[in-house]
Symmetry: C2
Subunit: 212 residues, 2 copies
Amino acid sequence: MRTLNNTDILKLPKLYRNNLINSISGFKSANLIGSVSENNHYNLAIFSSVVHMGSNPPLLGFITRPHSVPRHTYENIKATGFYTINHVPAKYAQQAHQTSAKYDIEVDEFEVCGFTKLFSDMHSVPYVQESNIRIGLKLEEEYHIKANDTILVIGSVIELIIPDGCLEEDGYLDLANAESVTINGLDGYLAPQKIDRYTYARPHQPAKSITK
Amino acid sequence: MRTLNNTDILKLPKLYRNNLINSISGFKSANLIGSVSENNHYNLAIFSSVVHMGSNPPLLGFITRPHSVPRHTYENIKATGFYTINHVPAKYAQQAHQTSAKYDIEVDEFEVCGFTKLFSDMHSVPYVQESNIRIGLKLEEEYHIKANDTILVIGSVIELIIPDGCLEEDGYLDLANAESVTINGLDGYLAPQKIDRYTYARPHQPAKSITK
């Protein structure tokens, strides 16, 4: 067991602290965000900060830095108002990680990292063909986070392209069956194995296993 | 393959839509948030929306509804300024899920759901003894999300209690070794299995596997 207080944490070497603090929030979503610039340059970048904001209306958020690596994504979303979120499938984890490299704006990460563009009629931003779960979004709101100069970008879901075999009768989308991965820290990729689903919990009616 | 647009999604039955939309952001963090009221009532509630906001300073965020189930957590944090975030370990997934029941404010979820309080000298909010990764936080900022009347709560890490065996030389905290779980949708719990870690990606130096 090791205990670190805020002073200990601030004294850690930068890379060590980055690895550690990026791990402590728990397992993260692994998504490729697709976008396109006004000059028609396509962009694809991995994000581990996509978070569920609400189901009605369906809203997803993600955190970005305005003046750091993935700014192409943010600038493109601001310019066009649309973007796609595509789950990273286990087989493509290494290629997905490669999209985090600081490519120039003219470079199409779909091409250099080996992903195929899939277009829809709803908007002009490509999805990732290799992903099993693909989400089309329209920019709704953004919040500037004063504490560390990041931005929370919120979009509404305007399209959802999902595989049939992963969708259960009650709307539960089985992400392990979809071969989606999860991220640990900055660079760890894992494939989750189902433990169980539990029934809705009530104070006097404890949650039970949902057995098939 | 199934494609749903925004109109299709809004027409889905409520529970079906909740299950589906809660699944699409990808795998989520599984955390028990501990808090205490001004009248010394302890609270413990599961959250799947804890997200990394930044490493320097170390900041974590989570999304809550002001007028919904886990409002005790939010009210307590506002009242005292402190809270704990504790990873859900695989063995305790069902008990952790049970904390989502709508217990009265007087009910101590640590007790009724079978978790042990662990106190530190840094603040007066208990950690979860059964969790392997435990984080103490101080409330820093909150943002009211207009799009759906939720709140993003941001706290700075003031204490970190982690097991020795899970910490690698470069600060990477191996969450699979810590037996932390991930959440799929509203009620699915999974144990992630490591695929690999990859080196820092550069445009002309593709990321490689970090092999031991």
